[in-house]
């Protein structure tokens, strides 16, 4: 077998034979199609990015000067009188890998448990799986950041279009100035100012009552009381996210709309006697919004990243709040997991934007159909 493989001629034969087999040729066709299909290509890229981040985080944590596993093992030995093996076993269960194995095997173990959803156990509260802690905090961040992103996207787009249609008017100048202002000011400063003025100086909002993700003792469910309460607690973080991201959407949409308004098809649509509303929605709006999708990932990263500070300021119990907690208590497995989850959410938001984009732009969608024809 080996001898046969070494001669180039039989290599070719082997390859040909393989390709002729139905299963293989089918697989090849599938791979070919995947490489052409936009959506699949994007999904694969997202998975690849997640994998790279998982790998990088793993090795970073292991190779860092203050390697948390070693630190933990030494703490166990020195403080609780564990033997090295006992300590290592304990560490293995907490970190979801065994420090005595070679690095590569540890890595494989780690990835295997990740795939199963096992993120290890919290150092600070032993016996609690990290995943269950995450599940308690993550929804609030996803909810508030997602709502903030959505509101600022929709509002920013509408205002941007308004600015473009009323170019040079008072409202355009005013909104441009406001947009530039909020784009420039760091989000945590906006949050601080909101607390200082709305909460303390003017006393309009009971900021201490608004802390937490939801009022204690309230039964979760699709009741009016619960939904109002959730919105009540999320109001200030969401407001901050909206205020600090709306500026870029407005300015981007304005310039995109202005250049779309100059397109021939808009003039032609007017010549065809279409109503202004229809032109604004289907001809200007839909085309002007397309280039903005590339920015969604950046905005998502900015909002989710900002949540680390914003949730601290408003004491909103989301994952950003949890991350700071984990860092202050040096709860490494929790930290590592939160960081992964944050990154995955941003990648997920990016992927979602890509999918939406491909739904809206036939030039992307149809490329694949053309390729298969």
């Amino acid at each position: 077998m080996i001898e046969r493989l070494e001669s180039p001629a039989s290599w070719g034969q082997l390859v040909k034979g393989l390709v002729r087999r139905p299963v293989v040729s089918h697989a090849l066709r599938v791979i070919h199609r995947i490489s052409r299909a936009y959506v699949l290509r994007r999904s694969l890229k997202a998975i690849l990015t997640v994998w790279i981040v998982v790998t990088a985080t793993f090795f970073l944590v292991r190779l860092m000067p203050g390697n948390p596993v070693e630190v933990y093992i030494h703490t166990l030995i020195s403080q609780y009188g564990f033997t090295y093996d006992e300590a290592a076993n304990q560490a293995a269960s907490l970190f979801a890998f065994d420090p005595n194995q070679p690095l590569v095997l540890q890595y494989l173990d780690y990835v295997r448990s990740l795939v199963r959803g096992d993120l290890g156990q919290s150092l600070v509260s032993p016996g609690t799986p990290v995943s269950s802690i995450l599940l308690r905090y993550l929804p609030w961040t996803l909810f508030s950041a997602g709502l903030g992103l959505f509101c600022s996207f929709v509002l920013g787009l509408s205002l941007g279009m308004l600015m473009a249609y009323r170019r040079g008017s008072v409202i355009d100048h005013l909104l441009t100035a406001l947009g530039s202002f909020f784009q420039a000011v760091p989000n945590y400063l906006v949050a601080i100012v909101l607390i200082v003025f709305l909460g303390v100086q003017l006393g309009w909002l009971p900021v201490t009552k608004m802390r937490g993700a939801v009022s204690p003792g309230l039964q979760p469910g699709l009741t009016v009381a619960f939904v109002t309460d959730v919105l009540y607690h999320a109001a200030l973080p969401v407001l901050t996210y909206v205020l600090t991201t709306i500026g870029s959407w407005m300015l981007l949409m304005k310039s995109s709309t202005l250049s779309t308004l100059e397109e021939d098809y808009v003039t032609v649509a007017r010549a065809r006697g279409l109503s202004d509303g229809r032109i604004m929605r289907a001809y200007v709006g839909r085309n002007a919004v397309l280039p903005l999708f590339a920015q969604v990932a950046i905005a998502a990263g900015f909002v989710v990243g900002g949540s680390v500070v914003i949730e601290r300021i408003f004491v909103y119990e989301g994952i950003g709040f949890l991350l700071l907690d984990a860092i202050n208590r040096r709860d490494y497995p929790l930290m590592q997991a939160i960081f992964l989850v944050i990154t995955v959410s941003v990648i997920g938001a990016n992927l979602l934007a890509d999918l939406l984009y491909s739904r809206l732009d036939p030039r992307i969608r149809r490329q694949t159909a053309e390729g298969e024809r």
Partner: protein, 298 residues
């Protein structure tokens, strides 16, 4: 002066070009001019601050959280220190670290961006992949996590970390620009003359991107300030010395926000940072107009 004009006009003195540009800016873009002037003003004030006020404020327990007065125009903090003194002295280290970080990320972006575009092939693909990954990973949480491993007690270390994470956007832009500039006639001419890749890149292509690079550098400074102040505010960088981030942190931790009298204490660093950021962004936008004259119409 823009890229479209082909070879940069080198015969004019740098000072002449800058003066002409400032005059042009004043005429066409009042906001940008104002931004530039205030950047110079704020940065100058922050740099000279420690010279104007050579002594840090002294704690005085009898003067805690005092409202503004003639002696303390912005009031006092939780230890009775003068707030104005702190604001004047607290900008220097923030700006220095931010500039250092932006310099580093700009250097990385220019070097690898232009090399990737110029060499293409594997270099380009690898750079592209790394850029994509760094771009998707949210920067601030990563810094926060790193602060758990690395003690950020030296300013240059902070600058290094921030700088190492904030180059991807500029790198992409540099790469795209170099790719398009590569095909321009004068680069062809330079290649025909047998000039080296290095010379073509740094002698011919990059000078034409100067306004864009300066703009990204400015944006880089704002991003580094954001990350830095954020870390100080959360208490993840050691609270030693005086700077606006530490002021924010202490005002927050010591509950200054809940005293009506000390509203200026907390607002002072907030305003200092916000105004500096705003003027930097405004100045950067006018640079963008310079780079892309189409944007300047309105």
């Amino acid at each position: 002066m823009s890229v479209q004009n082909g070879l940069p006009r080198r015969q004019r003195s740098v000072l002449g070009v800058v003066a002409a540009w400032l005059a042009d800016l004043f005429r066409h873009d009042k906001a940008g001019f104002l931004g530039l002037v205030s950047v110079v003003f704020f940065v100058g004030l922050a740099m000279l601050g420690p010279l104007i006020v050579p002594e840090p404020g002294k704690p005085d327990v009898t003067k805690i959280y005092q409202p503004p007065s003639l002696e303390h125009p912005l009031g006092t903090d939780y230890e009775g220190r003068d707030v104005l003194t702190q604001v004047l002295r607290g900008g220097r280290s923030i700006i220095l670290v931010a500039v250092l970080a932006a310099l580093l990320s700009t250097a990385i972006a220019i070097t690898f961006g232009s090399l990737a575009a110029y060499l293409g092939g594997t270099v380009d693909s690898v750079t592209g992949l790394v850029t994509d990954v760094i771009l998707t990973v949210p920067q601030f949480p990563l810094l926060v996590v790193l602060s758990a491993f690395v003690k950020l007690d030296r300013p240059w270390l902070l600058a290094l970390l921030i700088g190492l994470l904030s180059w991807p956007t500029l790198l992409r832009a540099v790469r795209a620009q170099v790719l398009s500039l590569k095909e321009r006639e004068y680069v062809e001419a330079a290649r025909a003359l047998g000039l080296s890749t290095f010379h073509i890149l740094f002698g011919e292509i990059l000078p034409n991107m100067a306004p864009y690079i300066v703009m990204s550098f400015t944006i880089g400074v704002t991003a580094a300030m954001y990350a830095q102040v954020g870390l100080y505010f959360l208490g993840l960088a050691p609270l030693a010395g005086e700077n606006w981030g530490i002021m924010l942190n202490l005002a927050w931790i010591r509950g200054a926000i809940f005293y009506k009298n000390s509203v200026l204490y907390i607002l002072a660093p907030v305003l200092a940072i916000a105004l500096l950021q705003l003027s930097l962004v405004t100045a950067a936008r006018s640079l963008e107009g310079l780079f892309n004259p189409r944007l300047r119409e309105s």
